[in-house]
Symmetry: C2
Subunit: 242 residues, 2 copies
DNA sequence: TCAAAAGTGTTCCATCTACACCCATGT
DNA sequence: ACATGGGTGTAGATGGAACACTTTTGA
């Protein structure tokens, strides 16, 4: 690890969402401490002179080897006692140059295509894993609060801008994948025919020649999301899907 | 000004919205510097050990003498060069104990009923004024960016939770006031009959006995917003007005 | 009696909802 | 031939948009 100069007062934490065709997961990092597995959100101190968004982008890149991801700051957590578990305190003491200072953290949501992720050994992570967003898991620091808030904000956001959901899907996908994704987001099941009708009204969904193969049922059509058509056709606020 | 201990790295800034029955305004503070009037958003450094929300609440209280206001953190601004105007730098040098450190600011939106505000002489403000949100005005630091972002976020938010708009209205108000408010928010005019029909479907809008008086036309019915009925009747996500 | 804003209903059209069967493929 | 998920259309209900006149008051 290069010897960068860090600002000991500010960190970023990332809630990184991925979709595995069934449920929505977030990326967690695992550390071992006193024989226990401790899970946390990926994050890092901001460097001196570094922009906040840049710090988040850097964490994402170190972890997934990906750039140009969907990234949005959603809230800053700065309670004076956000580090209060003895294990967390001990850990902070062991790795930080200035463990005693109050650090506030700027939280970001990010969306990735799981197939693109190459888990990289990052300076701040011993092990990295996907964890279902709806399966409870105790996290370090105030990271449960951060993750829950991020998930709630993402759901709200996607209702207004369903476009961003495509950041979670592969380049080519079936309408079934798209529907399952939306169902995971809204938390209820949707009518297949109505869903297709609404979706196919959107010209930015373009059918590819290609179909599924190797499945033991009627193969599904693949689609892609055409961002250029999207930008042409829609002034941002004019369309709501829900 | 009492000698509190401040954390020189973190500040809060508040975009405080008020509605004067015609347009939406924000609170600005004015300082005089080299014979010029410099306008800025109200804000302050966070104190040592002080929670972020508390700092924002404190700024609001010092300025308006009001408590229990609608308050929502909307974004954190932390660009390393967010203070770059020579006048701003000079001013920071003159009032801060540690003028050289990078300070990131957590921005809050707040909604007040203008009639309740008692402008108070605050430690950080020489003069306080209402300024129309849609009238351009150069502000200090990155406050133009902050105010514009806050206004955009508020408009988005109110589309999803029109409820909060009532924080901008007096306890009793006419449907015309309510409509003008929504028109100011969405930025276009609405059909009177359709607006009333939709609004009066909401049982939390209750008609009072009282009517306007002293107006030289048919006096309007007063209404109030009943928060208890609102909370009973509506699971948060079930109703959209737009 | 005039000016000014309050208040009120209906028709038309677009969109949402509910719902059931045939199709293409692999085993 | 059967199991599996893909793909399709219609009818009824609902909600939004457009639109003009009467009412009440103060001056």
């Amino acid at each position: 690890m290069a010897n960068f100069h860090y600002n000991p007062h500010i960190s970023v934490d990332c809630v990184i969402f991925g979709f595995d065709d069934e449920r929505i997961n977030i990326l967690l990092i695992k550390r071992k401490q006193e024989g226990k597995n401790i899970y946390a959100l990926p994050g890092d101190l901001v460097r001196k002179g570094e922009d906040l968004d840049h710090a988040a982008t850097r964490v994402l890149f170190e972890l997934t080897n990906l750039q140009n991801l969907y990234l949005e700051q959603f809230k800053t957590f700065g309670s004076p006692d956000r580090i209060n578990d003895p294990l967390d305190i001990e850990w902070v003491n062991s790795i930080r140059e200035h463990p005693e200072v109050r650090v506030i953290t700027i939280a970001y949501n990010s969306l990735v295509k799981v197939e693109d992720v190459e888990f990289a050994p990052a300076s701040f992570a011993e092990e990295v894993l996907w964890h279902p967003i709806d399966k409870p898991q105790k996290l370090a620091f105030d990271h449960n609060d951060i993750a829950n808030t991020g998930w709630a904000m993402l759901r709200e956001k996607i209702k207004r801008e369903p476009l961003i959901a495509f950041s979670l899907l592969p380049e080519k996908f079936t309408l079934r994948q798209l529907q399952t994704l939306y169902e995971a987001i809204v938390g209820s099941s949707l009518d297949k025919r109505n869903f297709r009708k609404r979706m196919l009204r959107n010209k930015f969904l373009v059918a590819l020649e290609e179909k599924q193969s190797g499945v033991s049922h009627k193969p599904a059509q693949y689609f892609k999301f055409d961002e250029a058509i999207y930008k042409e056709d829609f002034a941002k606020d004019q369309w709501f899907l829900f």
